[in-house]
Symmetry: C2
């Protein structure tokens, strides 16, 4: 499918009355319902601890929900390739644990207010339990991987974990850097977000001992899907075209995170605009009305549309990577997920 | 050796002019010098990252040094049992990474000022890099374990990592709890400190595929040594009998951590003393001179000596656990290490 077709469809579907029809994510969740129940049971079980604060905080996070996109990708990929074991359930739970651990630590790092539509855990219990329960979940993720029994899957997920941390540190160092290029920004989100999607997608092929080509194809699928996912998240942080994602809009702006909408607006910006971005992002001097000015600049340069188009490009690469696999309902679900991710911002 | 003999020797050796003679730790370090050089090279190499802040912070931590007791235990145990591979080098580096990661996170959790005699990393760079670089080191530890190639060693160290986090959360929850018993305190330090020592000691036997009995004996050695180590650390936080450990004394007191010296003093304390401990620990209301009053109470009830005696008991159990192994210089070095750990507080 043509990139512009995807982008345009994504952009215009905001006006369509599609609310009654299940989204691609909902269809995938329905298809994977039995296995996701098993994954959720594993998540609850492996969050268990005689130390009361741990399951309490864990329950808070689990009930906040989240979309469970990453474990869904693992489950769907396993089914698409016809994997017949059960290691993918443990790996899917491990992937979600790693993700939840990074969220807990991110909230401490970013001083976040909301997470998954609820007050962030660090604001409820303080930074210390968020740091420590994050460590606990991370360790439990590795225990799950050990139980899954594949050293190569462990290699993939431990490397992803290391890359995520590098990406986060790099993002921290890039805070307020209004000279950031599209390329350097893409490297950061590839590390902090796409690496885990890539690993989540490829581990079923690894445990199923498939060919390097199949593993590589799923790695590409996950990576490009993850890039699209993060680009859309960054567009949504400025409201996207819809609203109300349970996450405060303007977080990135307030924190001086120079994400791709800002990079794109800066590329076409006047000297006056540059001065503005430099003040609010690099110097961190923000006053009332600045967010509205920023939104005005983003709209003037079509920066949100540009971001969504970039996401559509990545989503299309993800979709194409699945071409080598035989057709089945899981492949279709994974393909449709690429469109859905982009449509979130519409 | 009789427990009282060890304790008394430890207590009196402060007065001995033993400075010129190498300590047991120094002798062990000399014996393991070549392999520790290889471990240090691995540590530097695996801390590498294209993200400049990571090696910078890593270098800061490495240069601060620390005693490298845990990897030394791994190396010595491997040699004692005649292990001929090289997986123990990677596992020793992994153990040190896990330890360093927990230190970085502890400093954020505790708001520490000093670590290894230097300004704590979170005060130099802020909490965010400490959290993220801790995560990075933790992930790199698992990559090292994957390279070491033993799933069972991974199981041991991932479980230890999970137990450490549980211990830290439990310690956090127990802050200011002046009704803590010796037993609950011991459970906390077994989790937060002794579990990693146990794993560090047993992993060589695991990769060498030794009998369950030998693995168990090394696990016991590490666990009891770790308990002794932590008990002495807690005595040293009140100055022990010596001073100047490069760590601020009084940290635990200021943070309201009810460690064993306080538990022992409370057991024999008057109602007036209890009111004091309740105010400074449970309510966190401390004023000038309170630390001196606390020291007075600890001395009045011989609480530091009591703590050191408990440590000596654990150290002796550690020593005895090695009885099943044939005599060699490594066994002697590991045995002597148990005395040294206790003597640190003398």
């Amino acid at each position: 499918m043509d990139i512009n077709t995807i982008a345009n469809r994504a952009l215009k579907s905001a006006g369509d009355a599609v609310a009654a029809e299940p989204t691609a994510a909902e269809k995938l969740a329905a298809l994977a319902a039995d296995e996701m129940r098993a994954v959720n049971a594993l998540i609850i079980e492996r969050m268990g601890s005689p130390v009361p604060l741990i399951p309490k905080l864990g329950k808070y996070l689990v009930e906040a929900g989240g979309k469970r996109v990453r474990p869904l990708v693992t489950i769907a990929a396993a089914n698409m390739i016809g994997y017949s074991g059960d290691a993918h359930l443990k790996l899917a739970a491990a992937v979600e644990f790693i993700h939840t651990a990074t969220l807990l630590h991110d909230d401490v790092v970013d001083d976040s207010d909301l997470r998954r539509g609820k007050k962030a855990a660090n604001l409820v219990w303080g930074n210390a339990p968020s740091v420590l329960v994050g460590d606990f979940l991370f360790a439990r993720a590795f225990m799950l991987m050990v139980d899954a029994g594949s050293m190569e899957a462990l290699r993939s997920l431990s490397r992803a974990s290391s890359v995520i941390a590098e990406g986060e540190v790099r993002q921290l160092a890039a805070k307020g850097d209004i000279d950031a290029s599209v390329g350097s920004y893409m490297e950061i989100i590839e590390a902090k977000t796409a690496a885990l999607f890539a690993s989540a997608a490829e581990v079923p092929a690894i445990v199923a001992k498939r060919s390097a080509q199949e593993i590589e194809a799923l790695d590409t699928y996950g990576r490009e899907l993850g890039l699209a996912f993060q680009l859309i998240d960054d567009a949504l942080d400025y409201g996207g075209l819809a609203q109300n994602l349970g996450k405060n809009t303007g977080d990135d702006f307030r924190e001086g995170k120079v994400t791709i909408p800002v990079v794109l607006a800066l590329q076409k910006g006047t000297a006056e605009e540059k001065t503005f971005w430099s003040r609010v992002m690099a110097d961190g001097e923000q006053t009332d009305g600045d967010y509205e000015i920023a939104m005005d600049y983003l709209q003037r340069h079509d920066a949100l549309r540009g971001t969504i188009e970039l996401a559509a490009e990545k989503a299309n690469t993800a979709r194409t990577a699945l071409d080598i696999f035989p057709d089945n309902q899981w492949k279709t679900a994974l393909q449709d997920l690429t469109d859905f991710v982009v449509q979130r911002a519409s």
